[in-house]
Structures are given as structure tokens and as C-alpha cells.
Amino acid sequence: MSDASSKKALICFIANLLRDCNHVAVGASSPIPGAAALLAKAAWSSPRHVNILGSVKNNFLTNGSQELFDCAAQGRIDAFFLGGGQIDGSANINLMGRGEYPNNTPRWPGTFGSAYLYFLIPKVILFREEHSRRVLVDTVDFVSAPGCSAPETYRTGGPYGLLTNKAFFKFEKEKGCFSLKSIHAGSSLEDILDNTGFDFLYDKENTPATPEPNPELLKVLENEVSVKIRDVYPQFSDTIFTH
């Protein structure tokens, strides 16, 4: 699969995960999740509200940049995306840097709102295209936001799953670990085991292939949504659509 078509497949996959949501918020530099949210809205009018931070057209909030966090605390946001320079098997994420804090090398930008939103948005989808032992580690060097909390800790949200360019894992909250749900075209169980630095549950015989994107949905993406995506993520749009 070409890079453009595998990115389109990821967009369609994520769009399907957002179908049961009313309000989806997307961080500023997340073109694939942003495109997926716009696609789901265009295809099914669900989610009804898509809020792309940093975009003027796709941001309907009027009470400043704190309003998003207030919304999350009240349960008004159903889904959000987080990534991380490191993600471990307990769904802890590290956006701070590799090595020992505070003198990390490399240092990444920082934790942003993750230490808060991960607790308060029910469906947090971890998304990181790179599927390697460098990113998917046994234990993160710095916990920007924990995947699990003690039962007495107030937590209405958390990790739903982890999507990479090789596979989709669901997070099993009770067991506190990921389980492999589907393998994308071009990868295999062996490939995933080789490139994942943490232990996860899997079915040796029967892990399904990730379904190909629905042709109708792809058509909506190409014909209707590509223009909207170009407004928000011009450079990304140039790399996957031939306008």
C-alpha cells in the first residue's frame, strides 16, 4: 500500500471509531485524527461537533483556550487523541523527552493538556504512526499522563485503544494492558511482536486483518472532505490528495 493510501486507511479506520460520539476534539498538529473527525461528521453527521484546536474555522469555542478543559471536566467531550514520544504497555504516555528529567535528550515540547484530558475524556485514542521499539516501550522514561489510576482517583476517562501504522490494540482496563485486535495490510503478528517493546495480549491463530476502508467512505473523503482538510492542514493535504 502506498503511503498516501495507508494514511487514508487510517483516517477511515479512526472515523469509524468516532461514529458514536457527539463532540470530538482534536489537537493542533494531528492531521490524521483531524481528518478522521471531519470525515465522520461529513459521512454520518456524527459526531455533531468537531473542534480542531488552532483552527479558526473548526473551532466554535468562545471562552478562550481554557474552555476546552472546562468542557472536558464536565463530560462534554467524548473523544480525543493523544500521542507520545514513548507509549508503554500500561498506556502511560511520555511527551516530555527521553532520558532523565529535567535534562532530557531529546527534550520534546512538553506535556500540553494530556495530564488532565487523559483523566476526563471517555474515549482517548492513542495514535502514533511509528510502530517501533523506540516508541512502544516497556516503561516510559517520564509519565506525562498515566494510563491507569488507583480506584479512588477521580477518573471518568482514559485510553480506549492504540492505533499505529501496523495494528490496532484495544486497552483492557481491568487487566491494565493492551490486546491486539487487528493487523493492517503489509504487517503480520511476527512483525508486530518484533517491533513492540511491551507485552500485550494476542490470539496466535485468529487475529483478524484490519478491514479495508469502505469504498463509499473513501469517496466521501476524496470528494467532500479533502477540501475541508486542506483548509486546516494544507501541507498534509498535499501529501495525500492529488487536487
Binding site: 483556550s65 529535567p102 506535556t111 500540553f112 509519565v143 482517583t153
Partner: protein, 270 residues
């Protein structure tokens, strides 16, 4: 109240606790270059809730002793070279936060309160490393219910760029309400604007809702394209060529110093 950029920048003293907006909210870059020309020292920058090129330049120029922020990001021009170098050498003190905690700390100051409680955060290394936050029991719950108390963040000055102001110093910020919160939390605000307009902004009710009244404002300076090379409110206007150039040269201190000489010390490009 209305003054030149040089004069406005001279009001910001060494050691100032300076609240600055994220790149999407109007960064006073022309004033920032003037701060570098005036060789400010020991600034404590608060990124509300994050910071970008502004802090990168101030750090590289040696103006900063503390960076309190939830991130320093140059967006697609990451990683920020002088920030990375400062972290490696330990030349600045970091107070790493998470976005809503910066807002909560400012909100406490805005309301004259000692702290604001905030959900989430418990179990993160952000909490473990933050010098000021405390975990307290929710006093209204019979159960074990811990919550993080964020002490008030009280900046000396809020510094940002806005579309326009009147001659009385009323500043129009539209729906960028974080600029209002940030300003009300600070002792005063110094604002650069695209233009100064005639009349009083509060006379027009449709404009008034988006006005930051001059009660909170200490100084205003006119600075057309005052966000350059950043875009203004994520609209048009990001100078991609310039930012690519910065990324290409700022990897070394020498390259960065040459950049400062060319684009800052040799004067404003108009």
C-alpha cells in the same frame, strides 16, 4: 498609555514575571525583539498555556532564567534548537505544567484566591516534579477523594499582540478570552496592536463584549505585523521561508547569534 514599542519594552524590567500567550493567540514578537535589543535578563516566562518561538528566541539570547509552561513548541518547525540546548546544559530553570493548570493558577489570581483545585494530574510525573502543587482532600467528600491544588500564578505583566485599541487604551481581543483572563491575573498588561483606532471601543455594544478595558492595561504600542514571523490568530501570515531559515541556522549558538545580528540587532525589517 499609547507609546512607542521601545518605551513599552523598557517598562519590562529584569526579573519580570511575564505572562505570554500561545502562538495561536497573538504573540508580541516585535516587542520580543525589542526586549532582546534591550538585553533583558532573568525573565520568568509563563507560557499561557504553552509558548513557542518567542521563548525560543529569548532563551537563546540569554534573557530567560525560568520557563513555566506546558510546552515549548515551534509546531512543524520543531524541535526548538536553543530551548533544547538550554535544557541539555541546564541553563534555565523549568517549571513544567499541564495546560489547564496554567489556566487554573491564573484564574485563582484573577479571583484573588490562594489556589484553584483541578481534576486529573494525580499519578503523573508532572505533579511529582512541580515545585508548588499540593494534593489535598476534597473537603466536601466523605470518601477518599484527592484533588490537586494549584496555587495562584501572579505575573507582573501580561504581554501580547491584539488587532486594535483605542487611544484610551481599551484593547479589542474578540473571543480570545484567555488574553482577558491572563491580563486580569497580572498586575498590568502591555499590548502591541496592529492599529490604534479613533473613538472609544466601549461605545459600540457589539465591539464592547470583546474589549479588554483599560482598567487592566498599562501600555499600548502600535506595531503593524507585530506577530511576524508568526501568524496572527492562526490566520494567514506565517512567514514560512523565514521560519525555515531559522530552523536551518539556529542549530548552533554561532548560527543563532548571526540570526540575532541580522534580524534583531541590525534593526527591524520593514
Amino acid at each position: 498609555m499609547i507609546m512607542k514599542i521601545e518605551e513599552l519594552a523598557s517598562l519590562i524590567k529584569d526579573g519580570c514575571k511575564l505572562a505570554t500567550p500561545a502562538d495561536y493567540s497573538g504573540v508580541a514578537m516585535a516587542v520580543t525583539r525589542e526586549l532582546i535589543r534591550q538585553k533583558k535578563k532573568k525573565l520568568h516566562i509563563i507560557g499561557v498555556p504553552t509558548s513557542g518561538l518567542q521563548s525560543e528566541l529569548l532563551i537563546g539570547a540569554g534573557c530567560v532564567s525560568v520557563l513555566e509552561s506546558s510546552a515549548l513548541t515551534l509546531g512543524e518547525y520543531n524541535p526548538a534548537p536553543r530551548f533544547s540546548a538550554a535544557i541539555k546544559s541546564g541553563s534555565i530553570k523549568l517549571i513544567d505544567a499541564t495546560c489547564p493548570a496554567i489556566h487554573a493558577g491564573l484564574q485563582a489570581s484573577q479571583k484573588g484566591l490562594p489556589f484553584m483545585p483541578l481534576r486529573g494530574i494525580i499519578g503523573s510525573d508532572i505533579l511529582k516534579n512541580h515545585p508548588d502543587w499540593k494534593v489535598i482532600q476534597n473537603p466536601f467528600s466523605q470518601d477518599d477523594d484527592k484533588i490537586v491544588a494549584i496555587p495562584a500564578i501572579k505575573p507582573d505583566v501580561a504581554l501580547f499582540h491584539a488587532p486594535f485599541a483605542d487611544r484610551e487604551g481599551n484593547v479589542w481581543v474578540g473571543r480570545r478570552r484567555e488574553l482577558v483572563h491572563m491580563t486580569q491575573a497580572s498586575k498590568t498588561a502591555y499590548v502591541s496592536v496592529e492599529k490604534i483606532v479613533d473613538g472609544n471601543l466601549l461605545d459600540d455594544e457589539t465591539l464592547a463584549a470583546g474589549v479588554l478595558p483599560n482598567l487592566y492595561v498599562g501600555a499600548v504600542a502600535e506595531a503593524p505585523s507585530g506577530c511576524w514571523p508568526l501568524s496572527f490568530w492562526h490566520g494567514e501570515g506565517e512567514d514560512k521561508e523565514h521560519l525555515d531559515h531559522y530552523k536551518a541556522v539556529a542549530g548552533t549558538q554561532d548560527g543563532f547569534d548571526e540570526y540575532l545580528q541580522q534580524f534583531i540587532f541590525d534593526g527591524e525589517i520593514s
